[in-house]
């Protein structure tokens, strides 16, 4: 037995099939006449179309401006209006590509010279992670380990000079066990020496008088480890050797002056080896020379002139060392990313982006409450195009591991509605707020995970067929809430510029009165965000 819906569908469909395809009489007008009218009307319109055309060009250039990194959202939104929508998705794509181009342009340091604060987040990570074992080892080892916090390319040298590890390690092992008087430095000396080492190792970074805040932060682990303890107590020679090997491997540019090391090995005071090895730079700003380090007094810059005398103990200055500059930051706090995706599929809904909506039963009653008419809306089919999305984001690193992220994301949703043939175009601007963490670093690659929530507002929308939608104005369209999680892989091509890919799972919270979009039908969504990231200083 047929339901009322079926019956109603029947009479409508039968009527549509029978009367809708009736081809009546032929048009009286020939196409030649029609063509004349069309061309005449077109000429009239096109003659006055200059303004419209230039408006379109302005919109396009605004999109390009967005690509220049000033904000994809601004540029895309600048093309508002019906004319703007036709090029909107292209402008969004240009914005993402352009942003990457600009970042490629801005990313590498000009002339290839390393900047003073090229320390990536990973450096700070290394400081934190590597220095942990030092807590239980010798200050000398700690000094060596701190070198790992140094940017290996900051000296701008590419050559690697082989190191006589035998001498180095043996000497170091001896020094770490030697209970000599000179090794009985006050705890601060050790950390200060370490800070010298750190400052020198930083190459182009400055060692200023005393410890900078960053140096203190870098040296916090060894400082704690040596606090109140003689420099030579409790050391494990093997650990020292190992750590020094590590230090050698991460010496600035991987280079260690052989002469400099061998002379350190011959130093009369074994306990100063760590200081000596750390004080291989010609600290012109600080006035600290290797002599100070060798004498165990290189605790502060600006010491007595005698401290600045040339090394009498035969210690050579590191010829590769450069005047050091202040360590400004070891952690790049901000990074800007531009990303986008073009196609994706809903989870659990297959690949189909179209759907027949169920019939909607509507009942009307008269003044007495008596039903006088009810109907079921005809079956409407929505064909959703894959969403196009792009945007920029700003990331702030609280720590080398954890970060917060926000930005602006534009999403273009297109839906073709049949049988009416209407096309619905919606542009959403969303502000995501998320947190995440960098968990794995492998060389220039890093892997991270994040979670976000996003609030999106429809900023543009129209129906191409000229018929109004169910919303008389944009403010009628409800906000769209979504949340998601992603894992990401980033690869830093340079210190400031990198690429990333983020597989993301998102959930768009359904809203009853929201327009019919692909997100409404497929609330779970998987996307692959691709983009570029620019690490700011």
């Amino acid at each position: 037995m047929k339901s009322k819906d079926d019956i109603q569908k029947d009479w409508q469909e039968i009527l549509r099939e029978k009367a809708g395809n009736v081809a009546g009489v032929q048009p009286q007008v020939s196409f030649a006449e029609l063509k004349e009218k069309m061309v005449a009307a077109g000429a009239g319109v096109f003659a006055g179309a200059g303004r419209g055309a230039s408006a379109g060009a302005a919109g396009a250039s605004a999109g390009t401006g967005a690509a220049a990194g000033t904000g994809a959202g601004t540029g895309a939104a600048a093309g508002s209006g019906r004319r703007g929508l036709s090029w909107l998705k292209y402008a969004a794509a240009v914005a993402v590509i352009g942003a990457s181009g600009v970042m490629l342009f801005m990313g590498p340091d000009k002339g290839g010279a390393p900047s003073s604060s090229t320390a990536e987040n990973r450096k700070a990570d290394e400081v934190t992670v590597v220095s942990e074992p030092v807590l239980e080892t010798e200050p000398a080892a700690a000094a060596a380990l701190l070198i790992e916090a140094v940017d290996p390319v900051d000296n701008g040298q590419d050559e690697t000079i082989p190191v006589d590890l035998t001498k180095l390690t043996a000497n170091d092992a001896a020094s770490s066990n030697a209970p000599s008087g000179s090794s009985m430095q006050r705890p601060g000396n050790v950390s200060d020496n370490l800070s010298h080492r750190s400052g020198e190792s930083a190459g182009s970074q400055t060692y200023s008088s005393g410890l900078t805040a960053e140096q203190k932060a870098s040296a916090v682990a060894p400082s704690k480890s040596t606090k109140g303890e003689p420099a030579s107590t409790g050391g494990d020679p093997a650990a020292s050797v190992k750590n020094l090997q590590t230090a050698e491997a991460s010496e600035p540019n991987g280079q260690i002056n052989t002469d400099y090391i061998s002379e350190n090995a011959e130093s009369s005071s074994p306990a100063t080896n760590a200081s000596n090895s750390a004080a291989g730079s010609n600290d012109t700003q600080s006035g600290v020379t290797p002599v100070e380090a060798a004498s165990g007094n290189a605790t502060e810059s600006g010491d007595s002139p005698a401290d600045a005398a040339p090394a009498a103990g035969g210690i050579k200055q590191d010829p590769f060392a450069e005047p050091v500059k202040p360590i400004k930051k070891q952690l790049r706090r901000f990074s800007v990313g531009a990303s986008g995706f073009l196609a994706s599929n809903g989870i659990g809904n297959g690949n189909s982006n179209s759907r027949n909506m169920p019939a909607d039963m509507v009942t009307y009653t008269d003044r007495n409450g008596k039903v006088f008419y009810s109907y079921s809306a005809p079956s409407v089919r929505y064909n959703h195009s894959a969403p196009i999305s792009g945007g920029i984001s700003l990331r702030y690193n609280f720590t080398p591991v954890f970060y917060a992220e926000s930005g602006l994301r534009l999403t273009y949703l297109h839906t073709w509605i049949s049988p009416s043939g209407a096309a619905q175009d919606l542009l959403y601007a969303g502000i995501p707020i998320g947190v995440g963490g960098n968990f794995v670093r492998l060389g220039n690659a890093s892997f991270y995970a994040s979670a976000y929530g996003m609030l999106s507002k429809c900023v543009m929308g129209h129906n191409s067929a000229g018929f109004p939608s169910n919303y008389s104005q944009l403010s009628d369209i409800p906000l769209m809430w979504s949340a998601g999680a992603s894992i990401g892989a980033a690869y830093n091509i340079t210190r400031t510029f990198g690429l990333f890919a983020e597989p993301t799972v998102s959930y768009y919270f359904p809203t009853s009165n929201a327009p019919q979009t692909i997100y409404k039908e497929n609330p779970w969504y998987f996307t692959l965000n691709l983009g570029v990231r620019f690490n700011l200083n």
Binding site: G24, A41, S86, Y375, P468
Partner: protein, 170 residues
């Protein structure tokens, strides 16, 4: 293929059908011819908005433009604001199943002519609801009437259609 060529092809293939779409909205033959021409001019001017989605999409797009053109004309003519009294709406003369059976038994051309005989306001709503697939809310917004008025006019169109089919069967 540029706009002129495509439109010429559509004119040759679907001209009669597109004219019949116009007649369904404006039953006057001369006015329908005018709407047909205006629709083609409008299609030519808006050719950049056409998206080819395969066979039949141009026909659907043109029929949509024809309907739009006619609706603009009817809106200017303003036959829509003759709001009826809901309380005076007659009850259905036939059930939906009877109507479906009746429609099935009528020749296509005769059914088409029955639609042309409907009053303007009823025919317009019937065209939009049944043939174009609009909801009453969309019809109401397009024509500037209330949803309930749209529903009432569709109901009246049904009643009238059922009466005509009864007469036809006799």
């Amino acid at each position: 293929m540029d706009g002129i060529e495509a439109l010429e092809k559509a004119y040759m293939q679907d001209g009669a059908y597109l004219l019949s779409v116009c007649r369904r909205y404006v039953c006057d033959p001369a006015t329908a011819q005018d709407m047909f021409q205006d629709g083609f001019v409008s299609a030519y001017l808006n050719w950049s908005k056409f998206r080819n989605r395969g066979p039949g999409s141009l026909k659907a797009w043109l029929s949509r433009i024809m309907a739009n053109t006619c609706l603009m004309y009817l809106r200017k003519k303003d036959p829509m604001h003759q709001a009826g009294d809901l309380a005076s709406v007659p009850m259905a003369a036939a059930s939906d199943s009877e109507l479906a059976d009746g429609i099935a038994g009528v020749r296509d051309e005769d059914l088409y002519n029955m639609i042309l005989e409907l009053p303007d306001m009823e025919r317009t709503v019937l065209n939009m609801f049944v043939f174009e697939g609009f909801s009453h809310r969309e019809i109401a917004r397009t024509l500037g009437i209330r949803e309930s008025t749209s529903a009432m006019r569709l109901y009246r169109a049904k009643v009238h259609l059922a009466e005509m089919i009864k007469d036809y069967e006799k």
